[in-house]
Symmetry: C2
Subunit: 227 residues, 2 copies
DNA sequence: TTTTGTGAAGCGATTCACAGCA
DNA sequence: TGCTGTGAATCGCTTCACAAAA
């Protein structure tokens, strides 16, 4: 409004974390659309498919740039390209999982990750009986090899799939080994140095949130639901 | 402020979903405190342990009631009781898992659920080879038995641990069988009738969010991190 | 004095409503 | 005309700052 530089400034503005969290969802819907042979999509249609409203979708996309054509809509392929770019899908991310229990095995056997740009490149455990065995295509190595495992190439994401009591210790070792970000499944708050991105994803917590909503409904306090 | 009914009114006010999401975390920290023999905790201490600020913690707790003593702090046991109550832990919640793959097995073998008030009471799959086998203590039943399985007692929470293409179908069957809420691990948007609480928890989405932050840092756009 | 509980201010996300453009 | 892109309004959560209470 003041001058022509506003668009540049806009691009440097922090993208709301809520928007970031929706991007993977939009991308998923767009890929479903690609499988059919539609090449154009309106904000209304994509909003409907992803379960949001059209204004929000347009605002979200506007943080990334101007990809649509007024009066027409968005080109599906272009939008897929752009969102993928922002999600950092240019390179395949290397993931190391620590904890070869059922959850660790579930992750290693989930082959859809590779389509989304993630490759599980190593699996570690401290159980001597598991070390040396294979889970899917992946050798189970001893946790002590985590540091040297990074020599095979940098690890972008470390996944903590161990019991809570071991979580902090594993996190510390991951950071020392050069892991840049952590997905933590253990029900424990882990502390790492600033600059390491940590996301927590504890199943119990999720069930407890649902439990709250069930209790609310039972007590007649609300009929509302989860996010 | 206007009259004495305000406290009652306060209790009827909707509790922010962000607050609800923090309650399980507070509870976890409090239980850790209980294991030591501290019986009192201040908002500052609990905030530090849970990684939030004291004002937010007090505001969160104030939605549930007035449990603290000014100048003193909160009694740990009392706070545990109150938060548990709001999370609906009065009764044990019955959980049915559909999908006996690695993830379904991981869930069934996670014995800590019972301490948090959740009991996995059934596991279903459509694979004839899996039906009849045991996962931990739990018999694998055929998905077609979901409806009649509810006769053994109501199912509070249905967990979807099947591939995306089957997710909507499973969700529909769950709702027909009387399941009241759903935790969905499949990367698919599922539609259910109003009043059924659905939470989505797709691993790929979580990795993609981390991917965004990694890309941001790599491009020097930010040094900020995830939630 | 210490720490809670809470109005009020601040801030960020959502939604509205329409100008801008094909 | 139809749909995007976006200021402005609104909504809701977080944080501040202090009165109330032990």
């Amino acid at each position: 409004m003041v001058n022509g530089k506003n668009k540049k400034i806009q691009k440097l503005v922090k993208i709301p974390s809520t928007t970031v969290a929706r991007l993977p969802l939009y991308l998923r819907c767009l890929k479903n659309i690609q499988d059919e042979k539609t090449s154009l999509v309106s904000s209304f249609e994509l909003a409907r498919l992803s379960g949001h409203n059209a204004a929000q979708l347009r605002k979200d996309l506007s943080y990334l740039g101007e990809f649509g054509t007024r009066g027409v809509g968005y080109e599906v392929d272009e939008l897929v390209r752009q969102i993928s770019k922002w999600l950092g899908t240019a390179s395949v991310r290397s993931v190391a999982v620590v904890g070869a229990g059922h959850l660790g095995q579930a992750l290693c056997n989930y082959h859809a990750f590779i389509n989304k740009g993630f490759k599980i490149s190593a699996l570690y455990d401290n159980d001597k009986d598991k070390v040396g065995k294979k889970v899917g295509e992946i050798d189970v190595k001893h946790i002590s090899q985590l540091a040297s495992g990074v020599l095979d190439g940098p690890i972008d994401i470390g996944v903590i799939a161990v019991p809570a009591r071991a979580a902090q210790d594993v996190a510390t070792q991951m950071v020392e080994a050069g892991v840049k970000s952590i997905l933590n499944f253990a029900p424990a708050k882990i502390k790492v140095r600033k600059g390491i991105c940590v996301r927590n994803l504890d199943f119990s917590t999720q069930l407890q949130i649902i439990g709250f909503h069930l209790a609310s409904v039972e007590h007649g306090l609300t009929s509302e639901c989860c996010d």
